[in-house]
């Protein structure tokens, strides 16, 4: 693993949102939301990395921060050795455009991420037009090629988004991302809002494209079955922090962190007769405004002891490439 080519290296990434209360004159900062709190990970070229966790744990914010859609509060993100956060903050327009092109985001909800007043041809060709990637006379061929790649027909180009089904819309969203020849794609729950029957189609499309174009994916999801299907490695996040990461097999079968265990045991089994042991977490996810000290999971952890609320557990190696942050691991 470690000999592979690291394409994206995230070190100590932090993103805090300040909570502001308005005063008569000016405003006062009354707290901060720890959306992403000291996150480190590497992504290897050509792999699919899964990012899982429940809603609000910072998966999407991590992606948005790396993509420069929201400014980071701290940390370092190296993409092929270039410091992305610096580029987003004070890079030249050319530099920004270069990385806007190389890293792309596939949006979660195809119902809201397509401009309802634009025909598909404009949605898909906007990317290569902005970046000046093709000559005018080649634009139409290029458009048809991209549509073809995602399994759409040329006549779809003239239609508007509301004339498509959810699966087709997600194909358009993918086509838009592919239109600028990216290297790296953040897929933010690309199938979460689709019918189960359509999900497999879209996931297959994504893996086919990955093989064809040598793309690197970060696949953000809380749908663990699909993560298991397409990811090589998985990161589990809870309340803005990573709790466990490693190869997909290790995470699904030899999990060490109690949060991962709860997640895994919550996966539905398509067999009505099979009883399974479930771990029901009690309580609510604590607020990210004042996250609990020590291990963030200790308020809900079935194995929590006094130490958990006082000291934050460091990452411990379980085996090669598999790390977890827990004082009293599962196995």
């Amino acid at each position: 693993m470690s000999k592979q080519d690291v394409i994206l290296s995230v070190t100590d990434l932090q993103k805090y949102f300040t909570v502001v209360s308005r005063q008569i004159i000016g405003s006062k900062v009354t707290g901060k939301v720890h959306a992403v709190d000291h996150v480190d990970f590497d992504v290897y070229r050509g792999e699919t990395l899964g990012l899982v966790g429940e809603s609000g744990c910072g998966k999407t914010t991590t992606a948005r921060t790396i993509l420069g859609l929201t400014p980071a509060s701290g940390g370092e993100v190296l993409y092929n050795g270039e410091d992305l956060l610096q580029i987003w903050e004070k890079g030249s327009k050319e530099e920004k455009m270069k990385y806007r092109r190389k890293l792309k985001l596939v949006f979660q909800n195809p119902w809201t991420s397509l401009n309802p007043r634009m025909p598909v041809k404009d949605i898909v060709s906007e990317g290569f037009n902005i970046h000046g990637l093709v000559e005018k006379e080649d634009a139409r061929d290029r458009l048809y090629d991209i549509l073809h790649e995602v399994g759409l027909e040329p006549y779809h180009a003239e239609r508007f988004p509301h004339q498509f089904s959810g699966g087709q819309r997600q194909r358009i969203v993918i086509a838009r991302a592919l239109s600028v020849d990216p290297e790296f794609i953040f897929a933010d729950e690309p199938v979460a809002s689709l019918d189960v029957s359509i999900r497999a189609q879209i996931l297959n499309l994504m893996t086919d494209l990955q093989a064809k174009k040598n793309l690197t994916y970060v696949y953000i999801s809380h749908d663990l079955s699909s993560v298991r299907q397409i990811c090589a490695r998985v990161i589990v996040m809870y309340l803005g922090q990573m709790v466990e990461y490693g190869p997909v097999k290790a995470i699904f079968e030899e999990f060490q962190h109690h949060y991962t265990e709860a997640l895994m045991k919550a996966i539905p089994v398509p067999d009505p007769d099979r009883s399974r042991e479930r771990i029901v977490l009690w309580g609510e996810v604590p607020s990210t405004i004042n996250p609990p000290g020590g291990c963030r999971f200790h308020t809900r952890c079935p194995a929590a002891q006094e130490k958990c609320s006082k000291e934050q557990p460091p990452f411990t190696k379980a085996k090669k490439g598999h790390y977890f942050a827990c004082w009293y691991p599962v196995a």
């Binding site: 806007r100 309802p116 902005i130 048809y144 006549y155 969203v173």
Partner: protein, 320 residues
């Protein structure tokens, strides 16, 4: 998808051409379909069509001799059996009679339609341009830009606009050559008519700029200009059109009011000015007030009905 792979490029082109002809309804076709079902809105559109026809045909009808020149006082010296003279009763020569100066009232009503439409639409276009610039920038950029621009807007909203318009028209008339009086009125109406629309556009831009597809455009590397013009503005068009329609009605009323007070352009046939002149003799010949008053009433009604109908038709939540 296996079938797709076998379709050659040529066949794909042919499919495309076929599809272009039979493709489904665009958003504007859907709007029209809904609008058609709304009877009151169609009624408004119908009245409007008549008024537009009157305004557009006035110069042609006059040129062809069907209508007399609206400013000609020549009928003053016509004998009464030819329908001439001052304040003549309706006759075949002057279907609505003549006014105090012996001018043909029907002709002035036709020409007045043109004046009303020009004032209403041009002044509203001017207001819309200002409102788009102010509201659009404030809503899109937010923060200090927003605070500053909205402060200006609020100042305009609290001013006694009508009085200031009267003052401005008086001052501007000193500098402007006679015959351009109407354009002073249009300019002043345009300059003061934008604040409400600017607030609406600001709210609309504020709402739209956080939507996923705008974020997607930003993520694609689109410039602010492109995002505003191609992604936000087309989606804000619905409410803008509604406010635009209602604003035209307001401007027509305002022009009539200004003319009525004697601040319009006397050299151009205007309904408001006609009321002003007819009012002096209202006890003798009240119908001279009624003709232009009815025209103003129906024009404003038509724009309002249409505006309401458009508001419903443009609301995608009501689409089926």
């Amino acid at each position: 998808m296996g079938e797709t792979d076998r379709v050659s490029d040529l066949e794909r082109r042919e499919l495309l051409e076929e599809e272009v002809e039979t493709r489904g309804a665009s958003q504007w076709q859907l709007v029209w379909r809904r609008f058609k079902k709304n009877r009151t809105a169609l009624f408004g559109a119908g009245i409007l069509l008549v008024i537009v026809f009157m305004g557009v045909s006035a110069p042609f009808l006059t040129f062809m001799g069907v209508l007399p020149d609206p400013n000609s006082t020549i009928f003053l010296i016509d004998p009464p059996e030819l329908g001439g003279g001052s304040r003549a009763l309706p006759s075949i020569f002057h279907p609505l009679g003549t006014d105090k100066l012996g001018r043909d009232v029907l002709s002035r009503i036709f020409w007045g339609a043109q004046t009303a439409l020009i004032v209403g639409i041009v002044a509203m276009l001017l207001s819309t341009i200002i409102a788009l610039a102010v509201g659009g920038l404030a809503g899109y950029f937010g923060g200090r830009v927003d605070a500053g621009l909205m402060m200006v807007t609020d100042v305009f909203l609290v001013m006694p606009v009508f009085l200031i318009m009267l003052l401005m028209i008086k001052i501007l008339s000193i500098f402007v050559v006679a015959g351009f009086g109407l354009w002073i009125v249009i300019t002043v109406l345009g300059i003061f008519g934008w604040p409400q629309m600017a607030r609406m556009i600001r709210a609309e831009f504020f709402k739209l700029k956080n939507l996923d597809y705008v974020e997607a455009a930003r993520e694609l590397g689109a410039s602010n200009r492109r995002i505003m013009l191609r992604h936000i503005l087309p989606n804000a068009l619905g409410p803008i059109i509604v406010v635009f329609t209602l604003g035209i009605a307001y401007n027509i009323l305002a022009e009539a009011g200004l003319s009525f007070l004697g601040f319009g352009d006397a050299s151009i046939p205007s309904w408001g000015w006609m009321i002003n002149m007819a009012l002096e003799i209202v006890s003798v010949q009240p119908w001279l007030v009624l003709y232009p008053a009815f025209m103003i009433f129906f024009t404003v009604l038509a724009f309002n009905l249409m505006g309401d109908g458009l508001a419903d038709a443009l609301d995608p939540r009501l689409w089926r």
